[in-house]
């Protein structure tokens, strides 16, 4: 049996609204992600996708149910998971290399080890020529690649990604998807990927989970039967993509919104 890297068991999250009554953001979340799997979550805006990731990272506790990472109950932020957001959140006073070392520095790793890890990852992310540059000297796509290197540097069991490419232009986005797909396939990392982009979800993942309107629950699991995980660019052009997109559009009621 393969190892369950991330598991949600009957998870519900409620917030207190401004008026004081409880608002249920997500409810009855029951799913798991196995080792090396890449799973995307897709759903209407405000359905609680980010809430789900926050619970996975241990930043927000679940109101009901339990979240497990590597078989351990998540109660607070832990070194098993690493976060990547839409904003690169690089620190402007650190060089690219120092930014990549950030997570390792928090964990008190020795300087030499940090440097070696950072340089290796920056090479993989094709940023070797920019290690000593400051973030403001890099383009948006390069900055997001540096953010990916920073996420990978702590060698997390699970990567949690909250629309990491949604702020980029279409071409840059495809290049970064390719980078991410290749890196995930090479390292065998497990990832949970939140996105708005249907084709992005299909191109990058083994499975796509579809969430409903708030209170968000998982209404459908779509298994993407396209080979070559390390090459999202090729997967994008696969003949099955159209069918999956149509299915997702129907589940999300996208055409009804136009009518």
């Amino acid at each position: 049996m393969t190892k369950r890297r991330l598991e949600f068991r009957g998870v519900t999250k409620r917030f207190a609204s401004r008026k004081g009554d409880a608002v249920t953001a997500v409810t009855a979340l029951d799913f798991h992600i196995e080792d090396g799997e890449v799973v995307s979550i897709i759903g209407p805006s405000g359905c609680g996708k980010s809430t789900l990731l926050n619970m996975g990272s241990g930043l927000d506790p679940a109101s009901e149910g339990e979240v497990f990472v590597d078989g351990e109950l998540v109660t607070k932020p832990n070194a098993h998971v690493a976060f990547m957001l839409q904003k690169d959140l690089l620190l402007p006073w650190r060089t690219i290399r120092e930014n990549v070392e950030f997570g390792l520095e928090v964990l008190h790793r020795p300087a030499r080890e940090r440097g070696e890890t950072a340089l290796e990852l920056l090479r993989k992310c094709r940023l070797s020529d920019f290690v000593d540059h400051y973030p403001h000297q890099l383009s948006g796509g390069m900055r997001q690649r540096a953010a990916l290197a920073r996420t990978l540097a702590v060698d997390p069991a699970v990567l949690l990604m909250d629309e990491p490419f949604s702020a980029l232009d279409a071409q840059t986005k495809m290049v970064l998807q390719q980078d991410l797909g290749r890196t995930l396939a090479e390292t065998g990392k497990t990832a949970l990927f939140v996105t708005h982009d249907l084709v992005e979800a299909i191109a990058l993942s083994h499975r796509v989970l579809v969430m409903s309107q708030r209170p968000g629950r998982i209404i459908r699991e779509l298994i993407i039967d396209i080979p070559d995980m390390g090459n999202p660019m090729a997967r994008r052009k696969h003949q099955k993509v159209g069918g999956y997109v149509a299915e997702l559009m129907e589940l999300l009621h996208i055409e009804e919104a136009v009518a």
Binding site: N78, A82, L89, P92, W93, E105, V154
Partner: protein
């Protein structure tokens, strides 16, 4: 301060600046005479220079300058440290900020130099009232800027650090402190000029040392040139302090594009 000296345009502008200085000195020397302005209103530059030499020889000008400079620097450093500590503490605790903000605002609105006589009553004709005025005056721009900087940190950066299991102290050391440096230096540049004002007002109110004392002494003696010399020396102290801040700032904030730094 990032001026490129090899740029011909920059050099021409610098030459123009120098020329303006020479013209100013010439005008100062001869214009008052030509316009029949008596020397006790505006003494010519040569008179001010000879007064400067006289004060060096028989008024302990350097001693008084050193006293004033010491008070400015000590007041500045203490005010800065206090401003930073309070700025960070309030920045980290919204409750404390909410509770204290009306009092801080009131104290900020109160003209700090008006406290000088009070401090003289408390501490007598010593260096302490002058230092205290400088501390009070430097405190606010530093505190307000540091507080604002801590407040404007993107909460997602802090969440990211937390997800990397950063401790409270690590968040301070690796995020909040470095993030505050830009606004801190902007505050310090304002504070540098204000610190000199604070000390001089303290000296004007009471005491027998410092350039403020020489200023009132010159005034009482009807020695306009002496007043001019004192003002120039005070300006030089201010320029040196400001220059030191800018040099340190350029070292510390080297990661920022020069344009952003000046706008800070």
């Amino acid at each position: 301060m990032d001026t490129d000296l090899s740029d011909p345009l920059t050099r021409r502008m610098m030459a123009l600046s120098g020329l303006l200085f020479v013209l100013f000195i010439i005008a100062w020397e001869w214009l008052p005479g030509l316009m029949k302005i008596p020397p006790f209103i505006i003494p010519p530059v040569s008179k001010v220079w000879s007064e400067f030499l006289r004060m060096m020889a028989s008024e302990h000008l350097m001693y008084h300058t050193a006293i004033t400079a010491m008070q400015v620097v000590v007041g500045f450093v203490l005010g800065m440290l206090l401003g930073m500590v309070v700025g960070f503490l309030l920045g980290m605790s919204p409750t404390a900020e909410f509770v204290l903000s009306p009092y801080i605002l009131a104290l900020q609105i109160a003209p700090k130099v008006a406290f000088a006589p009070l401090f003289v009553i408390w501490f007598g004709y010593t260096v302490y009232p002058k230092i205290l005025v400088a501390v009070l005056i430097v405190f606010f721009p530093v505190m307000v800027n540091v507080l604002g900087a801590v407040r404007s940190i993107d909460p997602d950066i802090v969440r990211l650090a937390k997800s990397f299991t950063a401790s409270r102290f690590q968040i301070f050391r690796m995020i909040e402190f470095p993030a505050s440096l830009g606004p801190l230096f902007a505050g310090l540049r304002i504070a540098a000029t204000l610190a000199v004002i604070g000390v001089v007002v303290g000296e004007l109110v009471g005491g027998n040392t410092g350039l403020g004392y020489l200023l009132t002494f010159g005034e009482g003696a009807g020695n306009t040139a002496m007043v001019f010399v004192s003002i120039i020396m005070l300006t030089i102290i201010g320029i040196l302090l400001y220059g030191a801040i800018v040099i340190i700032e350029n070292r510390v904030l080297h990661f920022m594009p020069a344009r952003d730094r000046r706008g800070a």
